[in-house]
Symmetry: C2
Subunit: 423 residues, 2 copies
């Protein structure tokens, strides 16, 4: 049994495959390589020792040692590979390293203003169960939100196949200001309370280790671990939902900022003394682009007056139908939102010079917000650098993918916990 | 002689003391530690092997090996230290490692729209000579700009004390889009030509290796190597001159962006369809805050009509005098510029969550732009995170400090070249 009292993953800053902390040789480097090897195997699905050594720029001996360590902890094993076409069926059958799915399971929960979602994955990243429940109130107190998280997790658990591995950790994402390192939530639009130690409250209620993060960071982590991040060191993710969020990957790492609160693109000012934002300030990007900004103008455009309260989704869908049917006021709302989205995209491009900007969220929003003219407007707003503008792609993922990012966060926590406990 | 055909510094991305590239063990790591040790000694002035090992989190044996290597190349040596008060004057006198000033010299040149500046430093970072010359035209063709760079360098060289070490490399900074990696300048406000291979042109004219960078990056590198960066891993630098520039340090490294053009805060949009920017777009921050933005409104405020062309500096000083004397139009110009500066600061804070924002440039600009009310306005624009807003500090440095950043860039290049040549 290795003499190792430190966790497998030496930091919890969302380090992806191939990225350990800076220049740490000796014992620290050995742990880093082990963490890197585990992450890389998880990302690749199946990996050979030679490919791992090449990808991570470490010696084959280091990989062999790290793999032995991970195997001793039951985290990875060798699996047979299908022979390549034309490969003569003799000699030792090809094998590759993979994460052992039976080593454990993790859950990811996304809490939002409309629905709460949960997924359960095994350690190899395969989805075992999922659940989605309506969230009820737009804003809840801490106790109610924690109870709702427990409810959606129980609903997912009820769908687990027999013989599923035990749940080891839970990752939870929610909108607002979330301090991942401390598990505190200074402010969230779905929480009535401020400065909540939500991680502690969730861990106590669920009886499992909990990792907490801002929801836009979770989508970004999902991209970093399962999507674009497998090939790109630098990219930005914009999320448009009830609010506007952002995740930023720099040098293969999620950028968290000096105070751990990360990037808040939604509250950058695009107009001095502009539209009122739900943060209480004026002129925030969110106040022009997010659902609530469109909704508050919709009653005017649709001439609904005080016809009672419709859900934001119903209002937005009706507004979009009217815009398609030629209603000038409805069109003006989407047109302005689209222009401000272009401003937001151009500002991200001018500031971060990313190679890719991902627009993440529900399909519908991009049907009405995102169009060729938004991209064209972004191009006119960009500085003429002589280089192509960054690619902009839509990832119309549902809430379950956000929850999958939460599960990935839990996976980090669980594997660290597993190794610490068994060491 | 070590068998080492790779440069001392494995990357030229502005790695500061203590920060090598990610997870590179074996031979690559050995080079990284050597580069780290050299940078750290340079930053500390005098350093002990024990402090180096502690600061860099590497083993004392690694430090000893790196130091032996650097000493063999004539780059570092041991120097006596004064005994501490109360330290009994017996036993071996205390010594510390330092960079050998006689190992070589480097020059830094800052090219701008008003003056060109040059400094010459020895390898230990001590200033040996300097010169500043008026730049003549606002915008020049490549040949004229290269000639002007040679002229200011010659002027500085003329002031070198006898016996100064030989010049080994030159760092050059200029405003605009500068690709540090390739040495190309897609666009600069002081260059009439576009897409210029300026590094090659300068190297050919000066007969020395040249490193090229955006001027805001140079101030940031100066802070990273000689100033705030010695204690802070994350900070932002805003420069206000004829234009508005920005440098961003993340995890002790200058952020350069995916395409190498870095952060362009000056061209982020703060107003859709707003004021015309010299980049040709509308609503850029620069179009509200930079010298040229104030200057173009000054003739109206001062009722100068077509009284001929005054220099921007003369106009701004006159405008400031009128504002102090109570001229409402002049005050309105500074008031608006100050409010937009607050927007720029708030956007940087919301997006990067830095622990410190440095305002760098000439003193005068901050006398009229920067005031308690700008800071107060920034605070009202920030999201209420429950954390203190980032500190904002003024660094009213002259052009020579920008040139010092350029010299630091040259120092990296020169030490790399020295080791490669002698290996």
């Amino acid at each position: 049994m290795p003499d190792d009292s430190a966790p497998l993953l030496p930091d919890d800053t969302g380090a992806p495959p191939g990225c350990g902390p800076l220049g740490a040789p000796g014992a620290a480097a050995a742990r880093t390589i082990r963490a890197q090897v585990f992450d890389r195997i998880r990302a690749m699905g199946r990996a050979s020792r030679i490919d791992l050594a090449k990808d991570l720029s470490v010696s084959p001996a280091s990989v062999t040692s790290a793999v032995a360590d991970l195997a001793a902890h039951g985290l990875v094993a060798e699996y047979p590979l299908p022979r390549a076409p034309g490969d003569p069926a003799r000699g030792r059958p090809p094998v590759a390293l993979g994460v052992r799915p039976e080593a454990g399971a993790v859950a990811g929960i996304k809490l939002s203003d409309t629905v709460h979602s949960a997924v359960i994955l095994d350690f190899a990243g395969q989805r075992l169960a999922e659940a989605t429940l309506p969230s009820g109130a737009l804003r809840q107190d801490t106790g109610a939100l924690v109870a709702a998280a427990a409810l959606v997790l129980d609903a997912a658990r009820a769908g687990l196949p027999p013989g599923s591995p035990a749940l080891r950790a839970v990752g939870v994402g929610l909108p607002g200001l979330v301090d991942h390192a401390t598990g505190h939530v200074p402010w969230s639009p779905i929480l009535a309370d401020r400065d909540v130690d939500l991680r502690a409250a969730l861990a106590a209620r669920l009886g499992l280790p909990v990792a907490l993060d801002n929801d836009a960071n979770l989508v970004t982590l999902a991209e970093l671990w399962f999507g674009a991040g497998r090939h790109l060191p630098d990219f930005a993710v914009l999320t448009i939902e009830y609010g506007v969020g952002m995740g930023l990957v720099i040098d293969n790492r999620l950028y968290r900022g000096a105070q751990g609160l990360g990037t808040e693109i939604g509250h950058t000012k695009v107009q001095l003394d502009g539209a009122l934002c739900r943060c209480g300030r004026r002129g925030c990007l969110e106040a022009y682009v997010a659902d609530y900004a469109l909704v508050r103008e919709a009653t005017t455009a649709l001439n609904w007056g005080n016809r009672g309260v419709a859900s934001p989704t119903v209002l937005l869908e009706s507004l979009y139908d009217h815009a398609k049917a030629g209603n000038a006021a409805a069109r003006a709302i989407f047109r302005r939102a689209g222009r401000y989205l272009a401003v937001g995209l151009a500002n991200v491009a001018n500031l971060f010079d990313p190679s890719l900007i991902l627009l993440s969220g529900e399909r519908m929003r991009y049907d009405y917000l995102y169009a060729e003219e938004v991209l064209a407007e972004m191009a006119t707003l960009l500085l003429d650098t002589g280089r192509p503008p960054p690619r902009v792609e839509i990832r119309a993922w549902g809430d379950l993918v956000w929850a999958q990012g939460a599960a990935a966060l839990a996976l980090d926590l669980a594997t660290a916990t597993a190794l610490t406990a068994e060491a």
